[in-house]
Amino acid sequence: MAVIKTENLSHVYSEGTPFVKTAIENINIEIEEGQMVGVIGHTGSGKSTLIQHFNGLLQPTSGKIYIDGEDMWADKNKLRDIRFKVGLVFQYPEYQLFEETCYKDIAFGPKNMGLPDDEIDKRVREAAAFVNLSEEQLMKSPFELSGGQKRRVAIAGVLAMKPKVLILDEPTAGLDPKGRDRILGQIKEYHQEEKNTVLIVSHSMEDVAKFAQKVLVMNRSKVFLYDTVEAVFAHAKEISEIGLAVPQITQIFAELKKRGYDVNPDVYTIEAAKAELIRLLEEGGNISA
C-alpha cells in the first residue's frame, strides 16, 4: 500500500491578496513503502511546498493527503502523531540546533514523542552512530562543531525519531563533494537498515541517479514526471527542455549511441558506465554503423 498518497493536492499562498501565488497544483502521486524517491525541480517549482504538506506543516488549499491510508487532516489532534511518522529535515537544518549539547538536541524529538528515558538514550546513540558522531562530540555544544558536523547532528535529531517516512530537503546544499557523499551514504545506509521510505529533494541529477529508485520531477507547480529512474531519464529530451539536465554520464552515453557505438544509453551512474564500457571493449568495440 502507498505510504503517502495525494489526491488533487493544491496549495495557494496569500489567497485573496494581490500577492496570490499557486505553489502546487493538482498533485496526484503515490509513494510506495520502503522506496527511496528523489524529488527534483527548479527553485520555485513547488518541491518544498509539496514536502511540507507530507507532514502537515502546510494545510492543502484543496485536495487530500493520505498517510497509511488515513486522511491527514480528518482529525487535527492526530497531526502531531503524523509528524512523528513523517520526519522532515529542512534545508540548512544546522540553524535549528539550540540545546547545550548535541546529545540533548538529538533527544529533543524523541522526548517530544514521550518515550521512556532508556529508549531515548538508545535512540540518540543509534542516530549518532549513523551519522558518525563520536561520544566526545555528543557531549559538546553544537555551536562548537563545524558546519558539516552540525548538519549531521541536525539530521540525527530527526533520525532518532525513527520516522516511517524520512524526508530531506536538500540535505547536501552548501557542502563540499566529500561531505555530500558522506551524508548521502549515511542516509542510504539508514534506509537499507531501517527499510523505511526516504524522500530526498535535490538539485543534482547525479545524486538522484546514485541513490533513488524513483524520481519525481516537478515543474511549474505540477508533477512533470514520476517514475523509476530508468523511465525518467529515458525522457532526457523533455527534461532538458524544462531546463534540468540528466546526469553527465547519461549525456555522454546518449552521444556515444548517436555516433554509432553499440551502447545502452540508459546509464546513470559511473559504476554502470564502467561496466557498460568494459562490455563494449570485450566485444571488440565495434562500431555498428
Binding site: 506543516l57 509528524r83 539550540f98 529533543f108 525519531m161
Partner: protein, 264 residues
Amino acid sequence: MLKDITIGQYFPGQSFIHKMDPRMKIISTLLYIVMLFLAGNLMGICAGILLLILMYQLSGVPMNMVTKSLKPVIPVVIFTSVLNIFFVSGEVLLKFFFIEITREGINLAILMSFRILCLIAGSSLLTYTTSPIELTDAIERLLNPLKKLKVPVHELSMMMTIALRFIPTLIEETDKIINAQKARGADMESGGLMQRAKALVPILIPLFVSSFRRADELAMAMECRCYRGGDGRTRMKQLQYSHRDWIALTVMAGAIVVVLLLNV
C-alpha cells in the same frame, strides 16, 4: 501565519506625494500634527479632515488602507473619549448619582477623537508613500545639525536602516525555525503559560544565534567595501527640494493660518 504581518507599509506609487522630497514629507507631517493641535474647535478639525482626504486622493493610496491603519487606535480613542466625557467640568447636561456629563466634555471628546484619528491617518500617509530607506535617509539629513552637538546621527540612521532591512528576513527565519521544531514534535499550541514560555526556547535560541551570525557577516561585508562611518560618504541619490516641496510647504502653512483664523 507570520507572513501576514505587514511592516514597512510602503505602498509604491508615482503620485505627487510619492515624488516629494522625503525631508519635506516629514516636515509637512509635523506641520500637519501642529495644525491638528492648534485647531481649537470643530471647524478647525473639519479643515484637518478635509486636507487629509485631499492628500489621500492625491497620493492614490486606497482608502481601505486608512481604515486598516486606524483599527489599532480605536481602543485608545474610546478610552480618551470616555475620560473626556466624564471628567471635564462645565455646563452639566446629564447627571446620574455622582457621574456628570457636560457639554464641554462632549465637545472635547469629539475634538480629541478626531485629532487622534487624523494624527494617525496623517502620519500613516508618510509611511505609505515613503520607503523605509528614503525615510531614514531623510531623518539623517534633517538631524544633521545635531552632529555639532556630537550626536552620532549617521550611526543612528544606519542602525535604523539595517533594522528595517532585516525585519522581513527575521520573520522568514522565525517561520522556518518554528516549522523545523514543529517537525520535531515541538508543541507550541497547548499547555499553560510556563509551558508555552518554555516552548519558545527552541525558537529563540536559534534565532539569536543566527542574528549574531548575520550581524557578523554584515559587518564583515561592510568593512570589505570600506565602510568607515558617515564621514565623507557621498550618496547615490542626493535629496533635492523641488517645486513640489515648496507647494506642499505653502499648502501646509496656509492650512495652519486657516485653522488659526477659524479659532478666532
